[in-house]
Amino acid sequence: METVERKIRWASFLIGAGLLVQLAALWIVHPLAFMGFLMIGCPLVLAGIVMYLLSLIHEKGPEAR
């Protein structure tokens, strides 16, 4: 597996985990759920998106391959 693909895989897992945390936090109306959403869900999704965007930057073009 190429490095780029490995990054995409990690990005998708981070985003998936983050969205599932957000989903769980949306299930309950409580301040702790709100904090879980902000402090765990959002950073995971953000980290995944950043990792995905970085993988795009680092991907070699067809001429480089």
């Binding site: 597996m1 693909e5 490995r6 995409i8 895989r9 990690w10 990005a11 998708s12 897992f13 985003i15 998936g16 983050g18 969205l19 599932l20 957000q22 989903l23 936090a25 949306l26 299930w27 109306v29 409580h30 301040p31 702790l32 709100f34 904090m35 959403f37 902000l38 869900g41 959002c42 999704v45 953000l46 995944g48 998106i49 995905y52 965007l53």
Partner: protein, 208 residues
Amino acid sequence: MPVSVVLLFCFAAAVIALFVGFRVQLTRSREGKILAFVALFALPVMAAWTGFSEQMDRATSTQFCLSCHVMSDFGKTLYIDDPSYIPARHFQNNRIPRDHACYTCHTEYTMFGGVKAKARGLQHLWVQYIRGAPKPEAIKLYQPFPNSECLHCHLGARRFEEGSAHNKVPDLLSRVKANKLSCVSSGCHEFVHDVASLKDDTFWKEKQ
């Protein structure tokens, strides 16, 4: 947007993102790259934003404020069967939206009022779970209740401007409007959330 739609959207976005992760070889093709962009950028951004906006809206709800045990007595004061209790009178007569009752009166109607309210909410969480919550009767406002919160709705209203009690003294209204005479702590509308006397109160039961 209904909560069920937000939940469904978040779930679908998570499933699609994980699908791309498990079938990462798909991203070698042009269509796969488009799918990856949608699944790992567009959908997560949209799902996180809708979730965030739902959470921010929810954080202003009465249910949210009263979900901490220490606040439950304050919630009960909204049902006191006595019109001299200002929060109860406002709540029971729909003068404030019942599902956003706390936030309607306890946020500042200024540019950063909402942000300040959220910051205070974070402080409350710290007190509730780390420092230890005080007894409900020991909870006080950070600063005297500003008249601007009352005037946000009452200013210009006929009953407020022309009411006999408000015009007994010539400069009373101007002092109220200038926040020099408090609506709630000057002896005029002093019954607010009197949690200490809850056991002696009778409560309004809403007819179904």
